[in-house]
Point group: C2
Amino acid sequence: MNSSGKIKTADANFDNLLRIFTVPEGQNSTLTKIEEELSRNLNEFLRNHIVTEERPLKDIEQDFLSSHIPDQPEFVSDHTQHLLDTVVSQSVHTSSPGFIGHMTSALPYFLMPLSKLMIALNQNLVKIETSKVFTPLERQVLGMLHRLVYHEEDHFYSQYMHSAHHSLGAFCSGGTIANLTALWVARNNVLKADGHFKGVEQEGLFRAMKHYGYEGLAILVSERGHYSLKKAADLLGIGQEGLISVPTDQNNRIKPDALKATISRLKQHNIKPFAIIGVAGTTETGNVDPLDDIAEICRQEDCHFHVDAAWGGAVLMSKQHQHLLKGIEKADSVTIDAHKQLYLPMGAGMVLFKNAGATQAIEHHAQYILREGSKDLGCRTLEGSRSGMAFLLYACMHIISRAGYGLLIDESIAKAKYFAELIQSQPDFELITEPELCILTYRYIPEPVRQALKDATEEKRQELNQTLNELTKYIQKKQRESGKSFVSRTQLNPGQLDGMDTIVFRVVLANPLTSKEILHDVLEEQRQIASLATSLLKELSG
Amino acid sequence: MNSSGKIKTADANFDNLLRIFTVPEGQNSTLTKIEEELSRNLNEFLRNHIVTEERPLKDIEQDFLSSHIPDQPEFVSDHTQHLLDTVVSQSVHTSSPGFIGHMTSALPYFLMPLSKLMIALNQNLVKIETSKVFTPLERQVLGMLHRLVYHEEDHFYSQYMHSAHHSLGAFCSGGTIANLTALWVARNNVLKADGHFKGVEQEGLFRAMKHYGYEGLAILVSERGHYSLKKAADLLGIGQEGLISVPTDQNNRIKPDALKATISRLKQHNIKPFAIIGVAGTTETGNVDPLDDIAEICRQEDCHFHVDAAWGGAVLMSKQHQHLLKGIEKADSVTIDAHKQLYLPMGAGMVLFKNAGATQAIEHHAQYILREGSKDLGCRTLEGSRSGMAFLLYACMHIISRAGYGLLIDESIAKAKYFAELIQSQPDFELITEPELCILTYRYIPEPVRQALKDATEEKRQELNQTLNELTKYIQKKQRESGKSFVSRTQLNPGQLDGMDTIVFRVVLANPLTSKEILHDVLEEQRQIASLATSLLKELSG
């Protein structure tokens, strides 16, 4: 609090407190200086303030032990210094060009002041009364994305984009809520009102199942489907066992034949497959399911076709690469995260529906808001109060535009192809999955071991592979701890390795600031770390 | 894009595009100037840029008609001017002291630069790898709120606050997700694994109901419960009919006897009441249910006791008024929105669980993140990727502190009491609900009509009341359109009006900048608007 001197009465206290709402931070305050530093050079700010060497989490926790809310106020400047020393210094430099292990990237500069403006406006998108222009703005942004996916004609958008009785989709906090919303709509449609039965939304799942005579419901997705789908199956009362994993081919894409066989088996047990999910950019490998094939199966089986394009959806911005998502236009619903390859800050997911009336299956009203016939967006969203993130995407659509986004996507994919070739040209690295979008996986494997693995007995191969897994984990951890660069890791069962449990480095190349030089350095650093893992290397050569 | 001149090749194009990630906005750019204006005087900025007189939504929509993503980039400065003219100008001045109709208020100044810092850091709270210090920070903030509600001892917090196997709650985008999370935990607990049955989360609701032999499940809440609960009942497969509305008394508080009677009736039909919700601050009237009584009934019936304190939870910060929420410490789970009376920007909800192990009922893992034993917060949250909003609440807890929050709450409640007295002292206004927290409702009623209403026949009373409803709607709409002040409206069935459907003005007095003078002006403006409603007034006097 900008308070000073002794405070005598409750009134004086309150007048003092009011200052945080009325008196801006001074020109020379610590906070203003930080803000200027941020605006002048974000990367330098982060480089200067984030400590590179990793402190163990246990140590960091020591600064966050008290469960008491502080009794007395701190000065803004004092607390800001504390935040710099304690929080900013120990945060993750997510926008660093050397951090190529996760899906967060550098943000365009103009988004920082615009975010501040968005927060200052503090609109609530749940209803027109607290959002006004933000409602048509959000509807337009959803319309743009809808058109990007579905290519409907002008008259479709003039009819539905601003219609009180329709929504082309919904903004939400992220892909998890987007996927959940899509499956909620799908479930409510397959168990809709029928005769005396008032629909699952009214009567619940138990009575719905009895009415329709099913023994179970199923959602089908490849074994590479996102973990959020398990949550959705649980929440919606389907049960995680109702989320059926379908085998994938060598390229991590769902096998259409296996999908068909699974559906037949389910139907024999009187289990209704009501939704099939195509993945457009798996989280671990970036591969895209054969969407056209899935669409055809959905048509035959009268299933809801959802595409989880949380990661890959933005690829539609590229005229060069949009063909990779062919078939997405047949989906009943699509998830796209703007905080991934559309370069927005965290917290901007979207679900789109082909049919503008689809969300009527989850429509709800109340007395004081969301009245029937209002244009309140909250009638057909899972969330209630929501911030104006659409404002940021609106600005990006205009400032970056389709042309700029296309270039960003093209560059990311080109970079991933470059890195794949680089890995393949090394004697001691092995590419595990080729980049289809800008994600790839690989591992370190000393040259002699590579040959040994090929000639070894089954038992020996398992053993070597196990040690290589340990080595990959070791390298990934040490590299992260040294703080210069970061790759993530996951476990795959690659076909070329006969499906053995294989730990791999996972790399996401969406940060436009990541240079070829950095990619070379990442491999070199991994090679050096590997050379220090003497006991594992001994095991491998023994 | 800060591009200039003609662009020749794709490479040159990309280098140009990179500038939005590397070159900050110039000192004299439109965006920098706006930011400075914002920082210097937010209210003046909003007053200068938001057009007061309301433009019809249909008109505003004309600026948002195209469904095409722009093909070519705009300069940042040009687009910023467009945003000012088209978006900012038509937004809602949610922080205006005269806008006392919704739950958004002015924000403390220091939150704007801190929000910018939070966005620049762009941490993802789903997992340690992308949040590091933000994870212990969020756990501490949840611990502080948990202690505020539950008053556990130090050893409880040292054991659980940072435990990989426990969570004291979850941050989420808002109260809707918070309520949904609480009910999800409750549902999974009542239908948990038992013998060969693997639990509802695995096998789904249909098999769970057959295993447990229930005909239905029920969630009970007063008729003033928030509409988000209907969504939760739908999503979780309970069905909206399973959300049972219990009658309230004259003060909009649930009737414990009616609650007990409802439970008995449900049980006779073999419907299992598994969760009872106490409302601590109804959205429409701000009343608090008798939490102690509900707690006792929950204990007897072995029900999950959830308190929806999205609005009222912050009142615990006030030592003077915390007693209003007595009994909340017995709740199994509590919803609190930080974007309401904790003065954070939109998008900061929380759910707290008394039992640190409660969220194990919704725990989930994946290969590449959320591995068993990790401290990743994402294992036990409904959402996946999440922003670092906890950082802002952490700062508020220190800068405003318990003392400052207490003052803010006390002042809001005092102001509401003042306004209630002011209304009661007017011959032509009628207080409908007394403020228990800082929310109240009232209506305009010409003096002669007031008397006439008392003496009229039943039929005449209905008729007069109907016309008064029209008058209230008219005044509310005209006042909103004139843009100087804003009250909201809702429909109640007040006991003192024999439960007639009654439209009322609803006022929320949480903005610390709202003065007594403004309250006088609001009534005066309403009186003046009323005098223009000649045809309605004629009807009333006829």
